[in-house]
C-alpha cells in the first residue's frame, strides 16, 4: 500500500499541475548527503561555514543579487577562468536548485 501511494503521489501532483520542483525535492537522506557535500567539499574552497576562503562567501547577503536559477547554473557548470569547477557529474539539476535555495535561505552559519 505504501509503495502504491509513493507511485501515485508524484502522478497526482503532476496531474494537478503542482510545481514539479517540489515533487523533485531530494529525499531526506539525499538532502543530508547534499548538505555534507556542501560543508565538506564546497567548503574546501568556500569554508566549512561557507564564510569564504579561496572562493567567495556563500552567505545570503552575498548571494542576494543572484536568483536560485543563476546560482544553480554556476553550481552545475562552474565558472570558467576561475577555480570553480562544474558539479554536474555529481548533482542533478533539481539537486543543484535545491542547494541554491538552501544557500539563499541561509544554510550558512
Amino acid at each position: 500500500m505504501a509503495r502504491i501511494r509513493l507511485i501515485l503521489l508524484p502522478l497526482l501532483l503532476s496531474m494537478t499541475g503542482l510545481s514539479l520542483a517540489s515533487a523533485a525535492e531530494p529525499t531526506p537522506g539525499r538532502q543530508a548527503e547534499l548538505i555534507h557535500l556542501l560543508r565538506h567539499d564546497c567548503g574546501s574552497c568556500h569554508g566549512m561555514r561557507l564564510q569564504g576562503g579561496l572562493g567567495p562567501p556563500l552567505t545570503p547577503d552575498r548571494l542576494e543579487t543572484l536568483s536560485s536559477e543563476q546560482l544553480s547554473a554556476t553550481i552545475l557548470h562552474g565558472r570558467p577562468g576561475t577555480p570553480m569547477p562544474p558539479w554536474r557529474p555529481f548533482l542533478t539539476r533539481e539537486e543543484a536548485l535545491w542547494l541554491a535555495r538552501q544557500l539563499k535561505g541561509g544554510v550558512a552559519r
Binding site: M48, R49, G52, P85
Partner: protein, 391 residues
C-alpha cells in the same frame, strides 16, 4: 622563615599545576585538527593514544599548525582568522586572538620568535610575537582592481629570518625580511604568473616554488640569489592539454623530495609529476587513482604516499620512488584528508574524516596497526616539524 614558607607555597603551587600537565618530552607527540568541532587532540605516537582534547579554537575547516622550537607549544591557524597558541603538555589554550577575517596558514620564523599568518581577508600578512601573540608587523597586500587586498597564500619561513609568500589575485611573490622586527624589509617580485594557489620552500630553504592555477608551470625563486628574479619551471608541462575540473586544490606543503628527484601533485590531472632537481626538468609522470592533493615522501625518501581530491578521496596510494611503480592501493575511507609520518618514517598516520578516525599504518608492510577515534579529523602535525624549514 618567611622565605622558607614562600618557597614551600611555590612548590605546592607548582605541583598543583604540574598535576594537570604531562611531565615528559614532546618529541613523540603531535596533534590532529578536528575540523567540524573547532577542537584538536594531542597525540602520543609511541603509545598510540590521544592525551588531551583542546576545544574552543574557532572555525578549523581549513587549519594548519606550526610548533615552537622547544616543541611544547603549537600555533594553530584557523579559517576564521584565529591564531591560537596551545600548550600540548597541559592540553590547554595559552592565548587566542582573531587577527584577520579569514586566514589560510602561517609559519614560524627561523629563530622561533615570530609567527606569521597569511590572510585571505583582508589580505596581506601579519607577524606576531611567538611569546604573547602581540602584533609585530602588519604587511598589507597589493590592492586588486576591485579595491580589495590580494589574498595571500603559500607563506613559509626561510633562512635569514625571512618569510616568503605569494599574492593570489595579483600574481606576485614577496620576501619579508624580519631581521629587524621594527623595520620589516619587503622585496617584491611581480608578474610571476596567474593565480599562485600555494607555495613551498625546499627542505634546505633555498628555493621557493609557487604553483599556478591560472597557467601551466611553476614559479621558482632562488633565495640564495633573489637578484636573479623569479623564473618559470616546468613551463612546457600540460601545454595544450585539457585539464579536468579541480574539486580540491592540491597542497604543495612538504614537497616530496627523494634523492635528486621531486614529486608533486599535477593540477587537474590524475598524475604525480616527477622532476629532476638538478635541472628542474620534468622526467616523468606517474598515473594515479585521482587528482593528488598531498604527495608526501617517507622521511627516507623510499616511498611516496598520495591522497586524492573529491570524488576519489577514499583512497591512498603508495609509490616506490625508485621504480615509480604503485606498490599499494589502500581503501582508507571517504574523506581521507591528510597523512603524517612519524619522525623516522616507520609509521604513517592518516586522517579519515567520514570514519571519524585516524588510521595508523606500518609503512613497510602497509598493514593497518591501529586506530584512534577523532571527530572529523583533518590535518595531522607531529612535533618534529618544529625543526624543519618551511613546516
Amino acid at each position: 622563615m618567611r622565605a622558607l614558607l614562600l618557597s614551600l607555597l611555590l612548590l605546592l603551587q607548582g605541583a598543583a599545576t604540574a598535576a594537570d600537565c604531562e611531565l615528559r618530552g614532546t618529541g613523540d607527540l603531535g596533534l590532529v585538527i578536528e575540523r567540524a568541532s573547532g577542537s584538536l587532540q594531542v597525540l602520543d605516537t609511541t603509545t598510540h593514544r590521544a592525551l588531551f582534547r583542546v576545544e574552543g579554537l574557532g572555525d578549523l575547516s581549513h587549519a594548519s599548525a606550526v610548533y615552537s622550537r622547544d616543541e611544547r607549544y603549537a600555533y594553530i591557524f584557523g579559517r576564521d582568522g584565529g591564531l591560537t597558541k596551545v600548550d600540548i603538555l597541559c592540553g590547554r589554550v595559552v592565548k587566542r586572538i582573531v587577527q584577520g577575517g579569514n586566514s589560510i596558514g602561517g609559519a614560524i620564523s627561523q629563530d622561533g620568535r615570530l609567527v606569521a599568518v597569511s590572510n585571505y581577508e583582508p589580505g596581506g600578512v601579519k607577524v606576531f610575537s611567538a611569546e604573547d601573540l602581540s602584533l609585530v608587523a602588519d604587511i598589507p597586500a597589493t590592492r586588486t582592481d576591485k579595491g580589495k587586498g590580494s589574498k595571500t597564500v603559500g607563506l613559509v619561513d626561510a633562512p635569514g629570518q625571512r618569510f616568503v609568500f605569494s599574492l593570489y589575485d595579483t600574481g606576485e611573490i614577496w620576501i619579508l625580511g624580519m631581521k629587524d622586527p621594527a623595520h620589516p624589509k619587503l622585496t617584491k617580485f611581480t608578474g610571476i604568473g596567474r593565480l599562485p594557489y600555494d607555495g613551498l620552500v625546499t627542505p634546505d630553504g633555498r628555493h621557493y616554488i609557487a604553483g599556478l592555477f591560472g597557467e601551466d608551470g611553476l614559479a621558482m625563486l632562488d633565495l640564495w640569489h633573489p637578484e636573479k628574479g623569479v623564473r618559470r619551471i616546468l613551463d612546457h608541462y600540460g601545454k595544450g592539454e585539457q585539464k579536468l575540473p579541480v574539486y580540491k586544490m592540491p597542497h604543495l606543503e612538504g614537497w616530496a623530495i627523494a634523492g635528486d628527484r621531486a614529486f608533486f601533485p599535477a593540477v587537474g590531472r590524475h598524475e604525480v609529476l616527477v622532476m629532476d632537481m638538478e635541472n628542474w626538468q620534468e622526467v616523468g609522470r606517474i598515473p594515479v587513482h585521482g587528482q593528488p592533493v598531498f604527495v608526501m615522501a617517507r622521511p627516507d625518501g623510499r616511498q611516496l604516499w598520495v591522497n586524492f581530491a573529491f570524488p576519489n578521496n577514499d583512497t591512498v596510494q603508495v609509490i616506490d620512488s625508485e621504480s615509480l611503480e604503485i606498490i599499494k592501493t589502500l581503501k582508507t575511507g571517504k574523506g581521507t584528508l591528510h597523512m603524517e609520518f612519524t619522525p623516522r618514517g616507520e609509521e604513517v598516520w592518516i586522517s579519515v574524516r567520514d570514519k571519524d578516525e585516524i588510521q595508523i599504518y606500518d609503512t613497510d608492510t602497509q598493514a593497518l596497526k591501529g586506530r584512534i577515534p577523532a571527530k572529523k579529523p583533518s590535518g595531522i602535525f607531529f612535533t618534529d616539524r618544529a625543526h624543519k624549514t618551511g613546516l
